[in-house]
Point group: C2
Chain length 477, copies 2
């Protein structure tokens, strides 16, 4: 994890972190709750990490003019099942006491945010301005067999741009840039690789080598990360009907990747020519060019010609994303262009978008303790309580801190100060405020033990203590 | 709506608002999407209002030290059905292609956030610090017949404080204060009345008049807002077994309300004495006293002795909340104290909390156009595009604004400037940026028409234009 870098706001591990580790270690259990398989739940400090991620994503998306949309969790089953292979994973809804004749309500929980968004666009086309940029951060449900990276309930964060009739290609570059910037902006994730390809490029190449079933080729190439090249080659011959020579060319294509546009030259060296291939090369080069300058230690954008998204109905640009050290999770952020995201028969709505699997991304990092929060509570200050009679006065004092944006709680009981300090320690609250009887106040940093006089109308904690901070395992203060 | 007051951040209606009104009027339809009855969806500008509400709630809760928790949407049916009368409204989940023998998964969607939170506390008791303050903002589902204020899918915002074994009474005051402050802080809602009562007070009074079935009395009193006093009186006699004289006393009790502690005297005047009544009076007086100073034009906290929450298992303080002009919605924010929120047989976890029906509160205000947003997009600036060749330069310019927190989009096409300005107008984007070929820049406020030269590294819009603002119908600029 040496390459993970921290924003200045990340601080050293606190008492809470240590306590957390102790608890996890002593019970030999993952601190992520899974009392129902596939439905993970987070402890408050883990949720603070998730909130930091969701806040950063939202801020990035909104800075680029993407509007928030939420769709209902339930969709008519027939619209959910249109997408084909995924249908087996849908959860069907039934009202417990529905009359016998009503049967299933014909509703299922959405399994992604694309199908509901396409429906939303059709429902509301008259009220939307196109091109329409939206982000959508919601839970989705799939009845899959739970395993690492696969959950029955999980959060996705999608961005899409949808237009009426025509969506200019520069929006493909835009969604790549926005998601890349959003991911890089989170600041505490392992290095990410945003891999871009183009369906026209693959299809043009397949046609150029003299084959016809581009879909079968994409399905085979899609497995290159999972099975040896010989197996893919065999599948290309057996299922896609290629000759050995054609299969070899396709495999050489799929091995090409570059963080700049040098892939264009390498594809051309393979000697295959086709109009659609040229269109795909130009589009992919435009995305890679458009993302130049975004790459950093934290995030690389690259052309990767094995990316196919074989099972989805993309028609141009396709995206996948790998996280360093967590390649076994597969792609944590995928998407692409649909020439027809939605259609009502008269009007077609093309779209391009990317979907981030927030739960898939975060859960392994939380489960392994790679990420944690500096404290499980928002409170930066605990106001100590001299006696129960002082509660009103202490509440007022807390209010004066809150009015200036400092999250504050008042001690639950007027125990001895030592106990009140330990109460703060157990929660990772960095400061304890002691209200003096004579109107003088002192505030103690319980990490350093330093105690100073303070004015409730002006004292402010350091910015890094104002909110819980995300901590990366093994990072220095 | 004359009494509704606006925060300074609320601004006058914009183009977007006018457009929106026009669309709603011309189509004679509510702009809230309801293509599936009971599952409301919001247009982007309405969602901006909801986000403003959720952000304000979250900020208030966190300032008071409440930590965010989310629980899974699904709970085992047997734990959902424990709560009694509500069971008929549960949505049962079934995997579409579950093997025949698996049948229903035994899971249902949660219908509130209290049952799942109680389960979460038991699941994670070893990892939580008590007293534990949490807020939880999530969707819940009920298979009810849809009507105004009743939805099948809706958002709730709950705060609860839970302890192990003993939860001091001052936390009852705390949750009332926190929710009252959070609601008042939203700033653009109609006036709210937070009504507080105490089960001990009612039960003590019932016992004091010589009756025994306090539950039946509370169930009758609970209907006082819906049926005439005579009907309630009859129910008190017929169902609760009271004499006419006892019923009359109970009705007189239920008519008492006060925004200060004068209710104590008025109850005592009824001449009923009981130890439990005294305990309840003291607790209720403490809540009203503790909330003194919070009341404003926008929010009143008052003792209202008809509030009973008859169907829930509260054991002390109870809360309801009415919104002026929307009394037919019933309570939009309710809660109270449970002496046993959760129990694992060995340990009891008492709790006190309040649940705000965000959808119930907002949907009528959005549907009637009482609340809307100044624009449906986050963008404060549209960078105009001289020619398509300028896109990279314009993107860089937009990035320099975004880096300073100004949400910016670049025009979708290099149309004539007049068309680009209308593009901004239709979205309610207040500023259009014109990049000069010679490196000089001009920015136009399209509402006033004022156009000035501007530096992309320092120009900032007025704070009220930075984000979409919530607009209250009929309010002046």
């Amino acid at each position: 994890m040496g390459a993970v870098r921290l924003e200045p706001r990340a601080v050293a591990r606190s008492e809470a972190r240590t306590r957390h580790e102790r608890a996890a270690a002593s019970e030999g259990a993952s601190p992520v709750t899974t009392s129902l398989s596939g439905f993970p739940e987070l402890l408050p400090d883990q949720r603070a990490v998730e909130l930091a991620v969701l806040d950063a994503l939202r801020a990035s998306f909104e800075l680029h003019g993407f509007a928030s949309v939420e769709t209902r969790a339930a969709e008519p089953l027939d619209s959910l099942l249109r997408k084909g292979e995924i249908d087996k994973e849908v959860y069907v809804l039934r009202r417990l006491h529905a009359p016998e004749e009503e049967g299933d309500a014909g509703l299922g929980l959405h399994f992604d945010l694309t199908v509901p968004f396409a429906r939303y666009v059709l429902d509301n086309a008259g009220h939307l301005e196109f091109p329409f940029r939206r982000y959508q951060i919601q839970k989705v449900w799939r009845g899959e067999r739970p395993q690492e990276g696969r959950y029955r309930e999980f959060t996705q964060a999608d961005i899409d741009i949808v237009a009426r009739d025509v969506l200019p290609f520069h929006h493909d570059v835009e969604v790549a840039r926005v998601m890349a910037e959003a991911l890089a902006g989170i600041g505490f994730l392992p290095p990410l690789r945003l891999q871009v390809n183009n369906r026209k490029l693959i299809e043009g190449f397949v046609l150029g080598v003299g084959a016809s079933d581009a879909t079968a080729v994409m399905r085979a190439i899609d497995r290159m990360d999972k099975v040896p090249a010989e197996v893919v080659a065999k599948q290309l011959v057996d299922d896609a009907g290629l000759t050995d020579g054609q299969a070899k060319l396709c495999l050489r294509l799929a091995e090409i990747r570059s963080a700049d546009t040098s892939f264009v030259h390498r594809v051309r060296e393979l000697g295959v020519r086709h109009e659609l291939l040229e269109a795909g090369l130009a589009e992919l080069a435009a995305v890679i060019d458009g993302c130049a300058g975004l790459s950093s230690e934290r995030l690389t954008v690259e052309a990767d010609l094995r990316i196919a998204r074989g099972l989805d109905y993309y028609t141009g640009t396709v995206f996948e994303t790998r996280m360093a050290g967590f390649e076994q999770l597969g792609s944590i952020c995928s998407g692409g262009r649909y020439d027809s995201l939605a259609s009502d028969g008269r009007t077609t709505y093309p779209g391009v978008g990317i979907s981030l699997g927030v739960t898939r991304l975060l859960m392994p990092l939380l489960q392994r303790g790679t990420l944690s929060a500096s404290r499980p509570v928002p409170s930066a200050v605990l106001v100590a309580l001299p006696t129960e009679e002082d509660r009103v006065r202490c509440d007022e004092l807390a209010q004066s801190l809150r009015r200036r944006g400092i999250a504050t709680e008042v001690a639950a009981s007027a125990a001895k100060y030592g106990r009140q300090i330990r109460y703060a320690e157990r929660r990772g609250i960095p400061f304890v405020w002691f209200p003096g009887a004579d109107g003088t106040h002192e505030v103690k940093d319980i990490r350093s033990g330093e105690q100073v006089t303070a004015d409730p109308d002006s004292w402010t904690p350091p910015p890094t203590d104002l909110r819980p901070q995300v901590i990366v395992e093994g990072e220095q203060k």
